[in-house]
């Protein structure tokens, strides 16, 4: 019998020959991978074989939901997208909140797998279990807000948002800008890994979902309601709840700044004037007029549309920037006006690009311009000086249209540094030899730096435990120095986070692990324990690792760029660095994970224990042929 929480069906769309069909989601796959990132990883592993380039028609673009999606679990409109990333060549998995995930399920599917390339630009319309590809010629070049608006008016309810959601790419995705994202419900972005570039390569402009279906639960409603109340209360009581539900993520700004974690001018300093300007408490209602625009079943006052009330961008209306955007388009570019950040955030969103990569790309160009590595002529006459907003906007537009120097920059931070050459490679901020990290100055935020360096998808695979501890996971001592403790914390938090990402819900509204398990079990009828939940998370990490090895991953790619290893020259983190200890921590982490300490490849016994025996065989064959070659 089908477990609660699932529709039990996946839609497969072959864009090359316009074939669309339904597949049953097998029960054993559900039990081993649940949904979300895990389910995406499973499809990716099974279907994207050796030699398939990210822009090859045989690459997959996989949208997945989980059993909590579409319920009253806080933020359960969330969904995941998996593909082979054009930034790293490794697995790329991104998630977005909003409503799209819930409405995909109400429209009749737990997920969609796209394969092949369409000849012309198309969009997919799913209405209550009926799917069709439609010509998107008139949407070509439309930004993400325009495309969504047009499709909602065309296929949704008269002038109201009720049950229709759109996920789309902007002009950047259409032109395969390597760090394009997929945008849904105005401002909710599946940003990481260049998922939008793969969508663009497939000539798929948008997906419209619309349905009147629902989600059934295994347990009775009284039990479900009790768990929901516990979940909501625990999320509110968490440290995230206390800050984010009042000030948004900008509420984290001052505390991060006090630790030296706010990136300033491409990590060349940690000092800048008036950090209070960006403190959440000084923004909402004071700098911005707030108009709530919630996600599915949100219990926080998180997402808002804002109107800028002060400064040169007074009157501008856009989405409220998150902490990382304030940091990345603010001090990181020498810009100290929150209104300018809101404007630039909106430009990048509408054009359809990931703000992380954009922030560290532009800051690299600015530093290179300051130091004379790039001249005005190299930048089509633009003067990219710290703090100048106009040229940044122009450059973003050039990147999205791959015009002039924009065509070079559209390749991302790492490839841009290669193009500039010389010292630029030592200045660029990236991990895994391919993608920019989340927008922090992670040089003294040990867990944040380490988790992204060893991550299988370039994003945060585990949980940063710098100055924190977790009784649940047996981390009784906060990691305060760059030593083996960082590796140990990663080995323990990685499986937890990856387990959670199979369930897909709003990360800000997380409950305690026991409540999470109660919810999962009550909805599905499964009997997950902490132990086998963490085992499932570990299975996903190992599956992704073997996928990456298949696509050429070697342990040198578990790394960060030279700039990320340089000690800060000022500020609270002055003089500290993980660089010298990194290799040692990495080997320690490999050992804790049951991987070969030298290569970082999972050992056969480890894979066997996780039920990945076939994977062990594939890995063995790969290593044998490599040794012969």
């Amino acid at each position: 019998m089908l477990p609660g929480g699932y529709v039990g069906k996946i839609l497969r769309v072959d864009l090359s020959n316009r074939r669309i069909f339904e597949e049953v989601l097998p029960l054993e796959v559900i039990k081993d991978y649940i949904g979300g990132s895990g389910l995406g990883a499973k499809f990716l592993f099974d279907e994207v074989l050796s030699g398939v380039d990210p822009f090859d028609p045989e690459n997959r673009l996989i949208f997945t939901t989980g059993p909590l999606t579409g319920t009253l679990i806080p933020g359960s409109g969330t969904f995941a997208i998996a593909t082979r990333s054009p930034l790293t060549g490794l697995a790329g998995i991104a998630q977005a909140n909003g409503f799209f995930g819930a409405r995909l399920k109400y429209a009749g599917y737990d997920g969609i797998v796209f394969q092949g390339h369409s000849k012309n630009l198309v969009y997919l319309l799913i209405t209550n279990g009926k799917a069709e590809l439609k010509d998107a010629g008139d949407l070509a070049g439309k930004d993400t807000w325009e495309a969504e608006e047009i499709l909602k008016q065309r296929h949704g309810e008269e002038n109201v948002d009720l049950c229709t959601s759109v996920a789309c790419i902007g002009p950047a995705g259409e032109r395969r800008v390597r760090f394009s994202g997929i945008f849904s419900d105005r401002g909710h972005v599946a940003a990481s890994g260049g998922v939008g570039a793969v969508m663009g390569a497939k000539r798929l402009k948008a997906i419209v979902v619309r349905g009147s279906g629902g989600v059934k639960t295994s347990a009775e409603k009284e039990e479900i309601k009790e768990i929901l109340h516990d979940w909501i209360a625990e999320a509110k009581e968490s440290s995230m709840g206390k800050i984010v539900s009042v000030h948004g993520t900008a509420g984290l700004f001052s505390s991060y700044h006090s630790r030296g974690w706010v990136p300033v001018k491409n990590l060349t300093t940690n000092l800048f004037p008036d950090p209070e300007v960006f403190d959440g408490a000084n923004l909402r209602g004071k700098f911005f007029r707030m108009m709530p625009r919630s996600c599915h079943a949100c219990t926080f006052h998180h997402c808002h549309i804002i109107e800028v009330l002060k400064g040169p961008f007074k009157g501008f209306i856009g989405e409220e920037p998150e902490y990382e955007i304030f940091a990345g388009f603010g001090p990181n570019l020498g810009i100290y006006d929150p209104g300018a950040v809101a404007k630039l955030n909106n430009v990048a969103d509408r054009l359809g690009m990931d703000a992380k990569e954009m922030a560290f790309l532009i800051s690299l160009v600015m530093e290179c311009y300051e130091k004379g590595l790039l001249k005005k002529d190299d930048l089509d006459g633009l003067e990219l000086k710290w703090g100048d907003v106009g040229p940044v906007e122009t450059l973003m537009k050039k990147i999205a249209s791959r015009e002039g120097v924009g065509d070079r920059l559209a390749e991302g931070t790492f490839r841009t540094a290669q193009w500039i050459g010389g010292e630029a490679l030592n200045m660029a901020v990236y991990v895994k030899g391919g993608n920019a990290p989340h927008i922090h100055d992670p040089r003294t935020r040990w867990g944040t730096l380490f988790t992204q360096a060893i991550s299988n998808m370039g994003s945060q695979e585990g949980i940063d435990m710098t100055l924190k501890f977790s009784k649940e996971l047996g981390i009784d001592e906060p990691t305060s120095l760059p030593n083996e403790m960082v590796g140990r914390a990663q080995a323990r938090t990685g499986p937890k986070r990856q387990f959670e990402e199979c369930l897909v819900f709003c990360y800000y509204q997380s409950p305690n692990l026991p409540t999470l398990l109660r919810a999962l079990n009550a909805i599905t009828g499964f009997d997950f324990t902490i132990e086998n939940g963490l085992k499932l998370g570990k299975r996903v990490i190992n599956l992704l690792r073997v996928f990456n090895i298949r696509h050429g991953f070697r342990d040198e790619q578990d790394s960060f760029s030279p700039r990320l290893g340089e000690p800060p020259i000022d500020g609270p983190g002055k003089g500290q660095s993980m660089a010298l200890m990194f290799e040692k921590i990495k080997r320690y982490y490999y050992k804790e994970m049951g991987w070969d300490e030298r290569t970082g490849f999972p050992l056969p016994d480890t894979l066997d224990e996780l039920g990945l025996r076939d994977t062990a065989k594939e890995l063995e064959k790969m290593t044998q042929s490599e040794n012969k070659g």
């Binding site: 579409g70 319920t71 009253l72 409503f99 109400y106 209405t127 209550n128 009926k130 608006e149 909602k152 008016q153 949704g156 309810e157 008269e158 002038n159 109201v160 948002d161 009720l162 049950c163 105005r186 619309r210 349905g211 009147s212 279906g213 629902g214 989600v215 059934k216 639960t217 009775e220 409603k221 479900i224 309601k225 929901l228 909501i232 108009m291 709530p292 625009r293 919630s294 996600c295 599915h296 079943a297 949100c298 219990t299 926080f300 006052h301 808002h304 549309i305 209306i317």
Partner: protein, 167 residues
């Protein structure tokens, strides 16, 4: 005075928790299309104008007046407006008559359904994170203060009558 639902659209953030709570309570599943309450979110103003549409148990219930089959009555003590499932033919007259979009056409059962205040424990109120829906004794002047936004009034009257999904 009997307790009633009170709507505070200015507090509504459009999260649709009410729809999920209602459908769980009434239909044992999370299914907004079968909820007795719907949040209307205008596509104008960047989608930030929200209005929870639900039955307000009018004393002069236009739905009851409009019903050609006498299937809608007001319960004496509780003042709850109720649809008799046996007598409802699913003709949809009540749905067009309601000025607040408070009547649901349930596509599975092909009948009109509406809020019955969950026997005094409304699930929507229980899960509304911003207190945009409250359950209390209503002031006489309530509707004078809570005028329906103009942009909704045109679409509301036929909103629930129309099939959500034309398939």
């Amino acid at each position: 005075m009997a307790k009633q639902l009170q709507i505070f659209p200015e507090k509504c953030i459009g999260c649709r928790s009410c729809e999920l709570a209602c459908s769980l309570e009434k239909e044992n599943e999370f299914r907004p299309s079968r909820s007795r309450i719907s949040t209307l979110v205008s596509l104008e103003d960047n989608g930030t104008v929200c209005f929870p549409a639900v039955c307000l148990q009018c004393e002069d219930a236009p739905c009851a007046e409009a019903c050609p089959f006498g299937a809608i009555h007001i319960e004496k003590e509780s003042k709850v407006v109720k649809v008799s499932e046996e007598d409802c033919t699913g003709c949809g007259q009540c749905i067009s008559a309601c000025p607040f979009g408070g009547m649901l056409f349930d596509q599975r059962d092909e009948k009109a359904k509406k809020c019955d205040l969950c026997e005094g424990k409304p699930a929507c109120v229980d899960f509304c994170p911003t207190h945009a829906i409250q359950y209390s004794e209503r002031e006489e002047s309530f509707w004078g203060k809570k005028a329906l936004p103009n942009r909704f009034s045109a679409i509301l009257s036929n909103f629930r009558a129309k099939d959500l999904i034309n398939s």
